[in-house]
């Protein structure tokens, strides 16, 4: 079991590494870069919202902050286009995380619905600031990033692909570590019942805030990578309300709170999201189709793909194992199995 798992993970990694060699068409690799970016953002979003159950719909603000931070850093230090701006990406993420400290503190004083609405309002405040702080952001004129002049058309997407893939793997590593640590268990306890968790000794305040900041850091880095990739950023594109909901939808489609769910959601939805506008010249058709898809997914699969699949898998597995044993052992195996699964819900996925 363990060997097949490792083998299949290695196979997936090999496919991911070989992808640009197999499909060198720039249009395809472009979509692949966007997909990896969204997979990274969704995984980062899941670390806070998926594990702790606090749905933040304003994390797009940190995406924009990361994008603007990288643009301003490159401008301020006269960084030339090339591989150097990639080194500044963690700094841009750090800038987003710094802003997330006070904002997260304010938002996390409220719970449930109020928290959701506050995060949306904070997002719009950041967007307004990007429009209005014209001295820094040049308002709706936008900022441009250094252009790597010596990367030819066909090669352009390749460095972005591998850097984003590396960042995504690190993000998955962080998410996996949190999922299996005592810290992650505390976050899951907060999701299940916050008052009881705090009664059991989970320091809910610092737990929630730190997860919020980690998620803002990762999403900020995604924003910075995205900004360097698209080369020109505007308040309307860097602070996009659709981004907030897109990552939430991706996480929901795959399975909120699981490790692989958000990845799967991003892998399915983002290529579609990139492909539709290419097919329909008019933006309206895209909105209608996307909205309708949205409604269908949520109403038909409110739990997401991975958890739905897991329930069936578990039933199938217990059914297989129980063949030919005494009724007593059936009960105990299924009990311990259930217990284990409750302890680390779905991390086997």
């Amino acid at each position: 079991m363990k060997i097949t798992k490792i083998a299949s993970l290695l196979l997936l990694l090999a496919i991911a590494l070989a992808f640009p060699l197999l499909f060198p068409n720039p249009a395809v690799t472009g979509i692949a870069v966007f997909t990896l970016l969204f997979a990274m953002a969704t995984t980062g979003w899941n670390i806070f919202s998926g594990y702790s159950g606090y749905i933040a719909l304003g994390q797009g603000g940190y995406f924009g902050l990361g994008a603007y931070a990288l643009a301003l850093l490159c401008q301020g230090w006269n960084v030339p286009g090339g591989y150097l701006p990639f080194c500044l990406v963690p700094l841009a993420g750090l800038a987003a995380a710094l802003v997330a400290i006070p904002l997260g503190w304010i938002a996390l004083r409220a719970r449930r619905h109020t928290f959701v609405v506050i995060t949306i309002a904070l997002f719009f405040i950041l967007q307004l600031l990007a429009y209005n702080l014209t001295g820094l952001t040049r308002g709706s004129t936008g900022l441009s990033l250094p252009i790597p002049a010596d990367w030819s058309g066909d090669f352009f997407n390749i460095p972005f692909y591998y850097v984003t893939l590396l960042a995504l793997l690190i993000t998955i590593g962080i998410s996996w570590w949190i999922r299996n640590s005592k810290y992650g268990l505390g976050l899951l306890a907060i999701r299940d019942d916050e008052d009881r968790a705090s009664g059991l000794g989970v320091r809910t305040g610092p737990f929630k805030l730190s997860a919020y900041i980690i998620s803002a850091f990762i999403i900020g880095m995604t924003g910075a990578l995205w900004a360097y990739f698209v080369e020109a950023i505007y308040p309307a594109t860097a602070f996009d309300p659709l981004f907030d909901v897109a990552i939430a939808l991706m996480a929901f489609l795959g399975g909120l709170g699981s490790l692989t769910g958000p990845l799967l959601g991003a892998l399915i939805l983002e290529p579609a999201q990139q492909y539709f506008p290419l097919q329909f010249s008019q933006n309206s058709y895209y909105l209608i189709i996307y909205g309708a898809l949205f409604l269908i997914v949520i109403l038909l699969m409110p739990r997401g793909i991975i958890p739905t699949f897991q329930v069936h898998w578990r039933i199938y597995q217990t059914g297989n194992e129980t063949g030919g044993r005494s009724p007593h052992s059936v009960i105990t195996t299924s009990l311990t199995k259930d217990h284990k699964n409750n302890m680390k819900k779905s991390d086997s996925a």
Partner: protein, 291 residues
């Protein structure tokens, strides 16, 4: 000085219109504990419906409300029954995503039908104005204000002076207990959602007669309305009224004494300060354990 008086008066008049738009949102939240992100686009839909009636059938904007409000009531009723009631668990988040999905579909349809050009509703009272002291005030501001007062008053009477209102308030306080004493909470929810969306029709007419709009205006609108209802306290009608009037007055005064660019930012900064001190908003209740 007279500029500031002007700013305060128009702030109060338009503030009432924002209170009308926010009342639907906060009513739906109070009863059903769900945030209708689609409220912004439904308001714009109401404005477009008034536009159609006025342009093609030459029906007066205010008379047209007698048609658009029932229409949107049924739309809201249907949305609740078909799309929101089926959500079984994780209602908070899923309802936000569902209403956002609805908003996207409506936005796409409106873009398709009306294109992205900005339009404004027309009537004689939109362009005509009368003098008060040193400045001129357009009739439409006064008429919209009166409309908002009449509808908010009607909503107050409905909620606090009728049997239906008692059931609504009981459902607001405690869904389970309301069900136990024989209130049909599902029916109340559907009707409340309908009323909330019908209020969007009236708010849309009032918004469209004082502002140029297109389908994209809904984002700006919903962000302001959400800010208003958290400022006032989620689920509180009087909180929404206080918050919207203070929002518009603060914006107008900032625009006069500093710069129009910073007008809405100041309100949002004030909102952050209020939230840091009082997370539940001005008149909101503290959220504790789920029932």
């Amino acid at each position: 000085m007279s500029l500031i008086v002007d700013a305060i008066i128009t702030g109060i008049l338009t503030g009432a219109v924002y209170a009308l738009m926010a009342s639907g949102l906060t009513l739906i939240f109070g009863v059903m504990e769900l945030i209708n992100i689609g409220q912004g686009i439904l308001i714009i839909l109401g404005a477009y419906l008034s536009y159609i009636l006025e342009q093609y059938l030459h029906i007066d904007l205010f008379l047209g409300l007698l048609i658009t409000m029932p229409l949107l009531f049924f739309l809201g009723f249907l949305i609740e029954v078909l799309l929101i009631r089926p959500i079984q668990h994780d209602r908070t988040v899923l309802s936000i995503l569902v209403t956002f999905g609805i908003a996207l579909v409506i936005e796409g349809l409106l873009n398709l039908i009306f294109s992205a050009n900005y339009i404004q509703l027309h009537a004689w009272y939109v362009t005509a104005s009368f003098p008060i002291g040193d400045f001129y005030l357009s009739y439409i501001y006064v008429f919209d204000f009166l409309l908002a007062i009449v509808l908010l008053g009607g909503l107050y009477l409905l909620l606090y002076r009728s049997k239906f209102g008692r059931s609504v308030r009981a459902s607001m306080q405690n869904r389970t207990a309301a069900t136990l004493i024989g209130i049909d909470v599902e029916r109340i929810s559907a009707i409340t959602f309908g009323i909330g969306v019908a209020l969007a029709a009236a708010g849309g007419m009032a918004f469209g007669s004082t502002n140029a709009f297109n389908a994209n205006s809904s984002y700006d609108l919903i962000s302001r309305l959400l800010a208003i209802i958290i400022f006032g306290g989620m689920g509180s009608l009087s909180g929404a009224l206080i918050a919207s009037v203070s929002m518009l007055v603060i914006e107008n005064i900032t625009a006069v004494i500093w710069s129009p660019v910073w007008a809405s930012t100041i309100f949002f900064i004030l909102l952050v300060v209020i939230l840091a001190l009082r997370p539940q908003g001005l008149l909101g209740q503290v959220e504790g354990r789920a029932q």
